[in-house]
């Protein structure tokens, strides 16, 4: 049995187009609905976050206030702490040489006699003028100084006599002394040990810079002139100690 479809193909084409239109219409509605849903989702989430933020904000502000108060307290006391630090550092500086001298005494051979112990102007080098009864004693003393590595970073020693050359390199009375030593008329010889400190002493800096400043105030300065900050009336930065 042969069946023949007499419906024109255009009829089916229109049906397919209609179905496609319905399909895309549905798809479009789905897209619109999805976008609207996403928008409302974010609106809802934003509102929730805002509500939560409103609860957290006072606490956060309180934290900031506490931090600010703590910071103000610390800033307020900063200058005082700087002064305390300066006072304490000055007091430490006053006695800083004492442990050095005490350690030096421990490392000094018993037959050595010191004539003068002085710190250099930069407070980093200890110069020791002394007297040794013999070359052997001086050697022992020098070996001791070399062992004091925690105290001195370098040690230089001068004054050891040679054979008829002892006066070379000596200045002033040292030459005569060595000559007499060589001639057997005098026992011992003078020496100078120059020791570089591992930790040079440093004078503390006044808080806020140079502290007082020059002694311009003593002279009165220009009449009516306002004081220069940091330049004290009588403040005076003393020169380093003079070596004798």
């Amino acid at each position: 049995m042969l069946s023949i479809n007499l419906i024109p193909p255009s009829y089916f084409e229109q049906q397919r187009v209609r179905r496609l239109l319905q399909l895309f219409g549905g798809l479009l509605a789905l897209v619109v609905a999805g976008m609207l849903a996403a928008m409302f989702f974010f609106i809802t989430q934003t509102n929730k976050a805002n509500e939560e933020l409103a609860q957290v904000e006072p606490v956060a502000q309180e934290v900031e206030r506490l931090k600010s108060e703590a910071s103000n307290l610390r800033n307020e006391v900063g200058p005082i702490q700087a002064r305390i630090k300066f006072i304490e550092e000055t007091m430490d500086y006053n006695v800083a040489i004492i442990p050095v001298l005490e350690e030096l005494a421990k490392y000094t051979y018993k037959k050595i006699t010191y004539g003068r112990v002085a710190l250099s102007e930069d407070r980093g080098t200890l110069t020791i003028d002394g007297w040794a009864p013999s070359i052997v004693d001086a050697g022992r003393y020098l070996m001791n100084l070399y062992r004091a590595k925690h105290l001195f970073s370098s040690v230089a020693f001068s004054g050891v006599p040679g054979y008829r050359t002892g006066a070379a390199g000596q200045q002033g009375g040292g030459g005569d002394q060595v000559s007499s030593f060589l001639q057997g008329t005098q026992l011992g010889f003078s020496f100078t040990a120059t020791c570089r400190l591992v930790k040079p002493l440093t004078a503390p800096a006044p808080p806020g810079g140079a502290g007082g400043g020059a002694a311009a105030g003593a002279a009165g300065g220009a009449p009516g002139a306002a004081p220069v900050p940091g330049a004290g009336p009588d403040a005076y930065i003393p020169p380093p100690p003079q070596q004798q």
Partner: protein
């Protein structure tokens, strides 16, 4: 509509869906999404800040303690090592400084070495104080006393050097030069007295011959300070100033009643 083919419908449908979808995303969804992100980020940040509440409270307590401790420490040093000199009133402060330099400091320093069994071998001289109250400063005052020479045993000299930290003024002792064998050693060193004036710096004083005084500088030119005016108390809260009355000066400190001021 009947003329449209399937292909055309598909192309147009896809394009319309895309355009509408993308358009709605950028016009409606994206702004809300960004708004949410911003609020969310801010919320996280504020939550993190808020979570520090206990730590912040503890830190504040610590800061208060540090503040109090520093003030107490400084007060202790003020009471034990600083004379009561304040330039809140410049004239009175200047006169107190004169007394400190002319009458107090020298005898104090001269007597001190004997406590440690060493002999002071030189005369103490204290440089004269400045005479212009407007040149005063609230910063550190350094008063160089020059070179000190003391004699004694090695141990006495070391004790003497240590002892300067117990002196009732803050001094800076430069490292000494030791000469001579013990027991008659000589130590030579530079001594500097350091003074922090109390409180801040008062207004300039009107001085005859000066062009102008600062506003509120203390009245008419040539005006004298009231007789008997003492050193004002430290400025509360100012650098070095602490609440409460000024601590008593150390032993030997001069009474701070100002003598009649010099004629202008």
């Amino acid at each position: 509509m009947d003329r449209l083919t399937r292909v055309q419908v598909i192309v147009i449908g896809v394009l319309v869906c895309l355009i509408v979808g993308v358009g709605m995303f950028f016009l409606l969804v994206r702004p809300k999404m960004q708004q949410y992100k911003e609020v969310s980020a801010k919320l996280e940040e504020r939550k993190a800040v808020a979570a520090e509440i206990d730590q912040a409270r503890a830190d504040l307590e610590k800061a208060k303690l540090e503040n109090l401790q520093a003030r107490l420490d400084y007060r202790r040093y003020e009471e034990t090592k600083m004379p009561a000199i304040s330039f809140n009133d410049r004239t009175a402060g200047m006169i107190a400084l004169w007394r400190e330099r002319a009458e107090v400091l020298g005898p104090l320093v001269e007597k001190w070495p004997r406590r440690f069994g060493v002999e002071l071998r030189n005369d103490i001289s204290v440089p004269a104080a400045p005479t212009n109250p407007n040149a005063m400063t609230a910063d550190l005052l350094e008063i160089p006393l020059g070179q000190m020479t003391v004699t004694g045993t090695y141990q006495a000299i070391l004790n003497h050097l240590r002892g300067w930290n117990k002196f009732n003024r803050l001094v800076r002792v430069d490292p000494p030069t030791l000469t001579g064998p013990s027991p008659t050693m000589t130590a030579t060193y530079n001594l500097t007295v350091l003074i922090f004036p109390r409180g801040g710096l008062g207004p300039n004083v009107a001085i005859a011959g000066e062009a102008t005084a600062q506003p509120g500088a203390g009245g008419a030119p040539g005006m004298m300070p009231a007789p008997g005016a003492g050193v004002p108390p430290p400025m509360p809260g100012g650098p070095g100033g602490l609440e409460g009355p000024p601590p008593a000066a150390g032993p030997g400190a001069a009474p701070m009643d100002a003598p009649p001021p010099p004629a202008p």
